[in-house]
Symmetry: C2
Subunit: 182 residues, 2 copies
């Protein structure tokens, strides 16, 4: 942020009175511009024991496989966001959403909220952000071609829990670059 | 948003190519400015069977009682945010955080993430945003003086579950103005 989105004058980085963190502050109109983490909502969609993954048609990680997920929009609930992303990326309707993982990634200011879900009618096809969409049996999962650490973690937890058919809600943090951890 | 925070020129509201929602777009530098929901993280802190509430020293709802909660900051995990807010508002250290509720409030683009927690050492006092901080037995809860619907909902769920001592994770939506629902 370089300019104030309210008045167009340059902002400065400073700690506002009564605050403890540096913010972008406009000295002309006095607006404090807060920046906060984003929610990425997604699904673990299954159909007849198989799990749906999307092959990314966009950067980052173009060509790698991911669970359908994306930024929650204003005006949505977390479940609506997860279902919408699945519809957009895999043209698949889902139901029976159940929260499974809340994964904070502090380095990139994201919180993933992953829901277990069932395909509503078994139909799917690639949306504009996917090169391919497929159902996988566990032994077919492309573990070495997963797009993001959060996808690998979610799938590891899921297949482990599937053995007991007990699915708690995980609240975990993903430190993607431990050497950068402060 | 009126001006582009990247180049200072006026933005327009339009649906970018390949998108389906109106965004603030800068026609000069082509930046698309996304706006997304914020996470409000908080605690249900207890000590020896009593529950901690804060009386708000700031608007909105000045003078009413609330659970300690506030906007998650960049660089935090959800649990860190909930613990920090409790420290700031009630000068109380908490431990044993356990996710209890994910409450979407689509009308105001917020997602509350509420954690059950224990006071670490039983000490607390009002922080700068609180007029008062007190521990309450269930029959003392000021039900008619709670600051927000999400606080009432969280406390209702909590005291109901306390009877069985079973605490699932709730994923619910709070529609504060049903007549405005679209």
């Amino acid at each position: 942020m370089i300019y104030c989105s309210n008045c167009g004058n340059p902002v400065v980085e400073m700690i506002p009175e009564g605050d403890s963190r540096p913010r972008h502050v406009c000295e002309s109109c006095k607006t404090v511009h807060y920046q906060n983490p984003n929610i990425v909502a997604g699904c673990i969609p299954t159909w007849e024991g198989r799990l749906l993954l999307c092959r990314r048609a966009i950067e980052p990680r173009l060509g790698l496989w991911t669970l359908p997920a994306g930024f929650m929009e204003n005006g949505e609930s977390t479940e609506q966001a997860a279902a919408r992303e699945t519809l957009e990326e895999a043209c698949a309707e889902v139901d029976k959403l159940a929260l499974y993982g809340v994964f904070s990634i502090p380095q990139i200011n994201q919180v993933y909220m992953m829901f277990r879900a069932s395909l509503a009618n078994g139909s799917f096809r690639p949306g504009p952000e996917s090169l391919d969409v497929q159902l996988f049996d566990e032994h077919e999962i492309p573990w070495d071609e997963l797009a993001f650490p959060v996808v690998k973690l979610t799938l590891e937890r899921y297949y482990n829990d599937l053995r007991t058919n007990k699915f708690p809600v995980y609240v975990e943090n993903i430190i993607r670059h431990p050497h950068r951890k402060t």
